[in-house]
């Protein structure tokens, strides 16, 4: 399964994140530095798992810092 940055941003919007915040996200920069906080993040991980049929462990969740990381995570499991 392939994934795009646009699709990941759509997923973020579906979890209730602010539209302007999502629009401005730089895929290469850590989400936590761009206003996605520690409360938003678990919700996004759950939605990500459901959407792409992947399992994210606690250890993975600490490594997945950017939208690019999420995209590569799916690609590596394709």
């Amino acid at each position: 399964m392939s994934v795009t940055i646009a699709a990941l941003k759509e997923l973020m919007l579906a979890t209730g994140l602010d539209a302007e915040l999502v629009r401005q996200l730089d895929p290469a920069r850590p989400l936590i530095q761009q206003g996605v906080d520690s409360v938003d993040y678990p919700g996004f991980i759950l939605a990500f798992e459901e959407a792409y049929g992947v399992a994210v462990s606690d250890a993975d969740s600490l490594r997945l810092k950017t939208l690019d990381d999420f995209m590569n995570f799916v690609a590596a499991r394709a």
Binding site: V39, P42, S61
Partner: protein, 353 residues
Amino acid sequence: MDRVEALRQLRETPWTAPDGSEKYTVGYFEPTAAAGIARLSYTVYGEGYPVDTYYIPERLIEENERGNIRSVVARTASSDVVAHGALYRSSPPNPNLYEYGLAMTLPSFRASMVFARVTQAAMKLVGTDNIDGIFSEGVCNHIITQKFSALLKGVETALEPALMPADAYTTEQSSEGRVACVISFRVVRDQRRVIFLPRPYLAELEFMMSGLALDRELRVSQDALPALPEASSVIDVRRFASAGVARCTLTTPGDDLATRLLELESELAQQDYALIQVFVNLGQASSGAVVDALRGQGYSLGGFLPTWFGEDGLLLQKHLVSPDFEGIKLYSDRAKALLEIVRCDWLRAQNNG
């Protein structure tokens, strides 16, 4: 075992909290988890949590067996409980509508996914057994709880602008006066129902019901309050004295309702209550007359409560202490729209008073 004995045991039994590096597994309640939940409650809340059950393992087992609580726990290999969440029966008369809460995570695990995993497992129970729907109350002195509520996939339908005294949240150091809560619902199993809409709130209810996907036949309520043989309304009043809140369920509305409400308000005001909430059954054809009686005595709209009685409910409330609307922090646009509805009707009630 009572609360005093349970707290004594917890206080005197040495325990070293896991440091957060241990693996955990998430699962549903088993009796062997009860002592760990009590230990977690004690670690997170100290001795101040108001509900005894969460300190007393035997009661946790009983309440889970009865289906009044459906605990979900995360446990380490050594059986320490590091996170807990629960669906539980609280205020609604409908036994199949559960509240989600009692969220506790050991501080050393708060950077992990553990609470999200507990919530995810709890949500898998919704629609099974006798759990037809859930709701949650998110405090509005900050937006963190409201963000977590998004994990429940609920829809905000009601707002209580001055529900809890701020000193209930002193550890959060984020509130003064009274704290508001926004209520979100998710109904999974339901059936077509006729509901009677009070004429003053047709537009407001249209907004509040949007997004819930309920199958309802909507009628405008036109019936008068029934003249009961002994002219006696039945009002079930639950008093939360420490919070200064009285929750009143109108079981049988009658034509003495206005008088009964005045007597109740007078009594509660003398005892320094801050808030009277009345839950109106929209399945009753006289719901409009009930709402008229309440509005006439200074009550204002709180929101729509799907399946609250089995039938849908409507929350009206009278504030004996003015809410601090400016201090309410809301996360979603929908909640902000709800606040404006609630504030406008509160102003209407004030001006009529």
